[in-house]
């Protein structure tokens, strides 16, 4: 059996690693938002061992609602990107969306009008989504898609730590 001291050291190391990971992922969100530039960027991930999707890392948020939002697999922009494994663009929310506007809580919470999200793959399976959002109508171009894709690759390389750390 491990002694209490060893347990505490392991706990400390684990929390330090978690903090480090949070810093790295938040930095990716910040840099993506600045380089685009866009109003909001965020990483949605499936909870470990569950189907539900949360927004643990965001940048450019207007409020703290993202902390409480949990979307079902297949619902909302993140849920749809994860279930389909394909990127998704919303040109002018809430116009021309699939389903009801209430199925897109992050768009409502952050007052996003135009958004693009691409899947985050871990072990060959879509486990999350990387999203950029604009609070005014925006037409996405090839450069936008490329920048999101590059950041997605960096985020994907950190997903192992996210899932093993949790």
């Amino acid at each position: 059996m491990l002694s209490r001291k060893v347990c505490l050291v392991m706990e400390f190391e684990q929390s330090s690693k978690a903090e480090e990971l949070t810093d790295l992922l938040l930095l990716e969100c910040d840099q993506l938002k600045e380089n685009m530039p866009c109003d909001f960027s965020g990483i949605a991930l499936q909870k470990y061992g569950e189907m539900d999707v949360v927004w643990p890392y965001v940048s450019g948020n207007r409020n703290e609602k993202y902390k409480y939002i949990t979307v079902r697999y297949g619902k909302g922009i993140a849920g749809k990107v994860i279930s389909s494994g394909s990127s998704m663009t919303i040109a002018s929310f809430p116009n021309d969306i699939i389903g009801k506007s209430t199925e897109y809580p992050i768009m409502l919470a952050e007052k996003i009008i135009s958004a693009y999200a691409c899947p985050l793959i871990w072990k060959g399976v879509p486990k999350g989504a990387l999203l950029i959002g604009f609070r005014d109508p925006h037409t996405f171009n090839q450069d936008n898609y490329q920048k999101v894709k590059q950041t997605a690759e960096k985020v994907e390389s950190l997903l192992a730590s996210y899932y093993f750390g949790n």
Partner: protein, 221 residues
């Protein structure tokens, strides 16, 4: 058509819709869900008897999809019709919905209650539940606030529910003129049909307040 006839027609339409929604919700919960449970159990049994690793993995994957579908069907059924309304009462059903609301939209709702809960009919309870649901969804969509309040006041033969927020608010007259008041009009119609009433006040920068009043003993549907 006379006003009285129109009201009768609205009442009939609302009741028919609610009955149909309830029927679908129960069918999903008691019919489709039960069948899916049988499929899930069967797949687990088959999985335990398969020796081929690829086939075993495939059966496991199928079993996971079925279990996910069971969860989806259950959530859809609850979304359509709050079955706890009749089993646990209006307060519990609303509190349960508020939990789901916060985890969906990230808006925190502070709930307060005074007085002793009284028994109300299913149709009246459903009218109040749907009106509160509409008011809360409007907060998520338009109020631009992270917090709101909902208070129950149970008096003898009367229930009053107040839902207020300190969000951006809106010009009520302008909303009526621009035909943007359909949701609120539907709430009022539901409450009138149930023998109660629904009032709304709002001002720009100060938030919105919705008051739902329902006599709990006589009148209405």
């Amino acid at each position: 058509m006379e006003l009285r006839e129109m009201n009768h027609a609205s009442t009939y339409i609302i009741q028919s819709q609610e009955e149909e929604i309830k029927r679908i919700a129960l069918e999903l919960h008691e019919g489709i869900s039960q069948n899916l449970y049988s499929v899930s159990t069967g797949l687990e049994f088959i999985q335990s008897g398969i020796e081929h690793p690829d086939l075993q993995a495939y059966t496991k994957e199928l079993s996971e999809i079925v279990n996910r579908t069971i969860k989806e069907v259950r959530l859809l059924s609850v979304e359509l019709y709050p079955s706890t309304l009749m089993t646990l009462g209006l307060s519990s059903a609303l509190k349960s919905y508020i939990k789901l609301f916060t985890s969906t939209f990230g808006v925190k709702i502070n709930v307060e209650s005074s007085g002793e809960e009284q028994k109300i009919s299913e149709s009246k309870g459903l009218a109040v539940f749907r009106s509160c649901q509409e008011a809360l969804i409007n907060i998520a969509k338009y109020a631009d606030t992270s917090e709101a309040n909902l208070s129950f006041k149970w008096e003898e033969n009367l229930l009053e529910i107040v839902i207020d927020d300190i969000g951006i608010g809106f010009n009520v007259q302008e909303a009526i003129d621009n035909n943007l008041f359909k949701g609120i009009a539907a709430m009022k119609q539901r409450m009138t049909t149930a023998g109660g009433n629904c009032y709304l006040s709002s001002s720009i920068g100060k938030g919105t307040k919705v008051t739902i009043v329902l006599p709990t003993e006589i009148g209405g549907m």
